[in-house]
Symmetry: C2
Subunit: 161 residues, 2 copies
DNA sequence: ACCTGACAATTTTTTATTTTTTTGCCAGAT
DNA sequence: ATCTGGCAAAAAAATAAAAAATTGTCAGGT
């Protein structure tokens, strides 16, 4: 149950290099959960998942620094997580990392995301069309009166940059 | 049915400015599907969705140029689309635009995306653990023989950058 | 009412340069 | 066997400057 893995095993299983393992250990990105009395690393299964996740994100084009920043941001957004790399479902693009958490999608660095609800907009416009009153003069178009129109503005705050 | 909208209506409904409407029209980002004999714009419902989508992406922090590049890439990836902005479900982060299409998630510019299958990796390691043979000497860890190990490497091609 | 064009202000992209981070390799220590 | 450290190469990030794109405002034309 409480099986642990040596560095060599972690390397073979996850595909990270020895150098990376050492550097990540040194810089605190992923540290072995256990150590032998002699100071040798013992990686838990949990650790392996984190290592493999980091490896995959890197292979997906994510830089190590962005990975660090993402983890920092995630642990701030979701403090209950001890090891985001092994506890979350991450989707990597070359530039950003998205996290799927409780049905929502976040960008790891900013935490802001939303799906564009096109269907909802369609309903809005259709409702508008139903409440229109045909203007007698114009033959085509000009279906709206001097609509106050403001009720249609997208209320979402514009977060420029 | 074939209701069309004037520029003013499109502005009121979608929230884009008159200048944007004109510039997008001039640069071909979103052009009205119809014109009056006098040369005035008539935007279809389809057009409105595209306008609203562009507006929302811009509000989400996406620049117009990235929007253009995304559309170009999308129409190359999915040639059957005439107007990606009104036919796809898009998710915007500050930096990239993702498209949901037939159950998959793409990054619009590169077309490359994949979700990290953590569950699958867990199964891999567990299978490895089951096929291990206990080494007689070591008390903790060192559970693996001199495993060839290569069968565990992630086969996914590393697309650096 | 709407379109177009022109000018200027703002924003975004591009490019080049410098700095930092990451990695490979090797040697010595535990 | 594994860890640590040092050094150099490679990759990535931060920075600054220049170029391009976008937008606001206004005026004239239809």
């Amino acid at each position: 149950m409480a099986t642990v893995f040596t560095s060599r095993q972690a390397i073979q299983i996850t595909g990270v290099t020895q150098r990376q393992l050492a550097y990540w250990r040194k810089t605190g990105l992923i540290t072995p959960s256990q150590r032998t009395p002699g100071g040798h690393s013992r990686y838990t299964f949990h650790d392996l998942i984190a290592l493999k996740t980091a490896k995959r994100l890197i292979d997906a084009g994510v830089s190590l620094q962005k990975l660090r920043n993402s983890i920092t941001a995630l642990t701030r957004t979701l403090p209950q997580l001890k090891q985001p790399l092994s506890e979350l479902s991450l989707l990597a693009t070359g530039d950003v990392i998205l996290v799927f958490h409780e049905g929502a999608v976040f960008e790891t660095l900013t935490g802001q995301e939303w799906i564009l609800p096109i269907a909802q907009f369609q309903r809005e416009v259709e409702r508008k069309q139903n409440t229109r009153r045909p203007s007698p003069s114009s033959g085509q178009g000009e279906l709206f009166p001097e609509t106050s129109g403001d009720d249609f503005q997208d209320g979402s705050a514009a977060n420029s940059k």
